[in-house]
């Protein structure tokens, strides 16, 4: 069996990569992909625990997370398209009109 710690380590690394990408990348869509990456890393952790503890709770939760991620992706991409139409740019640094 693959030890639980390996799964968790992988999940952590993926999550960290997602956070790093979220903070560093400039392209809005790339940032979105990093958000998805973070969510999926968490999914991995849930599954690993479910398998380790022999319970189905983790797997059920994963379903919830996937649904939420999908809905969020739909809405988020719609917003991005609207923003692109107004600003002609996908760089997150150009979306600064909410500053004081």
């Amino acid at each position: 069996m693959v030890p639980l710690s390996h799964y968790l380590a992988l999940s952590a690394i993926l999550f960290a990569l997602g956070v790093a990408g979220f903070l560093i990348r400039r392209n809005v869509i790339t940032i979105f992909m990093c958000i998805e990456l973070m969510l999926n890393a968490v999914n991995l952790a849930f599954i690993a625990f479910a398998r380790h503890l022999g319970r189905a709770d983790g797997q059920i939760l994963v379903f919830f997370v996937i649904v939420v991620a999908a809905a969020e992706a739909a809405v988020g991409l719609a917003i991005i398209i609207a923003l692109y139409r107004n600003h002609e740019s996908l760089s997150i640094d150009d979306l600064d009109s909410m500053k004081l």
């Binding site: 903070l23 640094d93 600064d96 909410m98 500053k99 004081l100």
Partner: protein, 646 residues
């Protein structure tokens, strides 16, 4: 009619008339206002006379009739009700005040006929009458104080009646502020009085005082007496708070006659008289009263010697005569002081009314140097002015002689009488005769120094004004006969009121050994100085009219000091007014108000908020990635906190 009802009928009609005239007066005709105003004063007077009659016929005659109408203050152990107190002293005061007030109301109809604000004038005048009557009928010190402050208010309103005139408005303020200074002492005295006796009711206080052996608690009682006297000094224009009275002449002449001659200024004397037993337990305070009274009498008389403005001269004369009344109280002959209060009310108000008549005829001229020879054109005014002058100078047969003599006799032989008080008071009597006859001669005798058009317009005043003169003139003569040297009916009449106080004083310090001649000696001296005064006035102003000018040149310094009223106003201005204004400007206004409150508290909070905001707004950069970083930081911190807790 019962006493309770009569007392209300004395007080309430003026109040009601004041309210009606004040609120609706603008729509009334002058006749309606007059009827309301004079009618209320008349009703008051009739009720006062009826009350006097009723009280005198009560069997057995109580020492005082007291009636509580309703509870006013009830706070802890302090209880002050709207209660009225009527004894022989109250009888004298109410009758004097209402009679004089009624006559002056009648006079004012004629005097104020062509002035604006007729209804306002009568409203204020009635309100004043109500307040004054409250003052003299109050049964406790707080209610007396209500009347006290009320007359002060009305005085301010009436002095500044011609409010568009700067000097009149200033004079009103000056009167109020100066008397307020005295009232500060009065209030502290009231507090001390309550602290000592647990009550401010006249009955309670006098009962406690009567049960008190002589010499006990003298320090406290002296302090109370002096503090109360401070109020009297302000209200009755004694040294050092007299400066408002001459300026108060800015008000219409009926106001000067009623308030600043006959009634309000006598409130201080009434206060001392009403508290006679308290003062008797504190002989030091009485000596201060007598001393200040005597000095004020002399001081004011010297200023009156050189005044050219007729009303101002009469104002200084009032200050001087009030000093006499305080001398009477101060040496222990309280009844004599009240006697002089009564006679003075009659002849001084008459003097003011006739002065007003002259002023009216000369279209506002008051400078005696521009008068002269008026007796030919204004016979009635002249005759009544002459009678009043004879009264105030103390000519035998006229009222002032009897009352002044009683006081001088007291200064000579009463337990607290002192030689220096007697001599200075006698000297003042001589000065009084001199300056009054000077006024008479300059105004009515001699050759006319009137301006040409004034000379043409001079006319005797109408009957509305002269009728009150004549009544007052009669009183100025006969009012003195209630007390004659061999038959002191008036003094004996007031014995129940002042007996306890006078008894206490004479047991403490027996009267000076008097042969029966004391009375004659006093009378002789006063007649002597009066005669000298009149002769000097005649010589100065009729025989050789250039003489005053020569003397003024030779004694230039003395003359300048006198005509500038010893520069008292200027001294006060330098010592008191200017520092207060400087302090108000630099410290209170610039420092505290503009600096601390406006600057720090109002603007400071605003700019503080702005600065904090400026710092915080850097978080709202619109820069999404910084938001993301902050979110991450927050999440990490929170996670760490949760892990640390478990």
């Amino acid at each position: 009619m019962t006493m309770e009802v009569l007392l209300l009928l004395i007080l309430l009609p003026p109040l009601a008339a004041a309210a009606l005239n004040g609120v609706f007066g603008r729509r009334f005709s002058q006749a309606q206002v007059s009827w309301l105003g004079c009618g209320a004063a008349g009703l008051s007077m009739v009720s006062a006379l009826a009350a006097a009659w009723t009280f005198s016929h009560l069997t057995p005659e109580p020492s005082a009739f007291v009636h509580r109408y309703f509870t006013w203050i009830e706070a802890g152990s302090l209880r002050a009700d709207f209660a009225l107190y009527y004894d022989r002293l109250t009888l004298v005061m109410t009758v004097t005040v209402t009679v004089v007030a009624f006559l002056i109301h009648l006079y004012a109809r004629g005097y104020m006929e062509h002035e604006g604000g007729y209804y306002r004038f009568f409203s204020y005048l009635n309100l004043f009458l109500f307040m004054m009557l409250t003052l003299v009928t109050a049964a406790n010190y707080p209610l007396l104080f209500v009347g006290w402050e009320g007359v002060g208010l009305c005085s301010y309103l009436l002095i500044g009646f011609y409010f568009r005139k700067r000097s009149a408005a200033d004079a009103g303020k000056k009167a109020f502020i100066v008397t307020r200074t005295g009232d500060a002492g009065f209030t502290v005295g009231l507090a001390l009085l309550f602290w000592t006796f647990g009550s401010l009711d006249f009955g309670d206080v006098s009962a406690s005082l009567q049960a008190l052996p002589a010499g006990q608690m003298e320090g406290t009682l002296t302090a109370i007496a002096i503090l109360l006297f401070m109020g009297a000094v302000g209200k009755s224009a004694q040294i050092p708070l007299f400066v408002w009275l001459p300026d108060a002449m800015e008000g219409p002449t009926p106001v000067s006659a009623l308030i600043h001659a006959a009634t309000m200024v006598t409130a201080g004397v009434y206060l001392v008289a009403r508290s006679s037993l308290l003062f008797a337990h504190a002989p030091l305070a009485l000596e201060i009263v007598g001393g200040i009274g005597c000095l004020t009498a002399l001081f004011a008389a010297t200023i009156a010697l050189t005044q050219n403005d007729l009303k101002r001269l009469l104002a200084y004369s009032t200050i001087s005569q009030l000093g006499y009344m305080f001398v009477g109280c101060g040496v222990g002959v309280f009844a004599a002081g009240i006697f002089h209060l009564m006679t003075h009310a009659f002849f001084k108000s008459l003097l003011f009314l006739t002065a007003g008549s002259v002023m009216h005829a000369l279209s506002g001229e008051l400078d005696m140097q521009k008068m002269g020879g008026l007796r030919h054109k204004m016979g009635t005014t002249y005759g009544t002015f002459l009678i009043a002058t004879l009264a105030i100078s103390g000519i035998p047969g006229f009222s002032g002689f009897f009352s002044k003599d009683e006081i001088l006799l007291g200064a000579f032989e009463a337990p607290l009488g002192k030689p220096w008080i007697f001599w200075l008071a006698t000297l003042t009597a001589g000065l009084t005769a001199f300056y009054m006859f000077r006024a008479l001669f300059l105004t009515f005798h001699g050759s006319s120094r009137l301006a040409p058009q004034a000379a043409q317009q001079v006319h005797e005043s109408g009957r509305k004004m002269t009728a009150p003169f004549m009544v007052l003139a009669v009183f100025s003569v006969i009012a003195g006969y209630v007390n004659l040297p061999g038959a002191p009916w008036f003094v004996r009449y007031l014995e129940p009121v002042f007996g306890p106080a006078e008894g206490l004083l004479s047991s403490a310090a027996p009267a000076h050994s008097t042969e029966g001649h004391a009375g004659l000696l006093v009378m002789g001296m006063s007649l002597l100085v009066v005669a000298v005064g009149i002769l000097l006035a005649y010589w100065f102003y009729l025989k050789t009219p250039e003489l005053p000018r020569h003397l003024a040149e030779r004694f230039r310094l003395a003359y300048r000091v006198l005509i500038n009223k010893y520069y008292v106003d200027e001294i006060y201005n330098w010592l008191i007014v200017r520092p207060i204004r400087w302090g108000s400007d630099k410290i209170l206004w610039r420092g505290l108000d503009a600096g601390a409150i406006d600057g720090m508290m109002v603007e400071g909070t605003a700019s503080g908020a702005v600065s904090v905001g400026n710092v915080l707004r850097r978080m709202q950069s619109g820069y999404v990635r910084s938001y993301a970083a902050w979110i991450l930081l927050g999440a990490v911190l929170w996670l760490g906190y949760v892990l640390w807790l478990s």
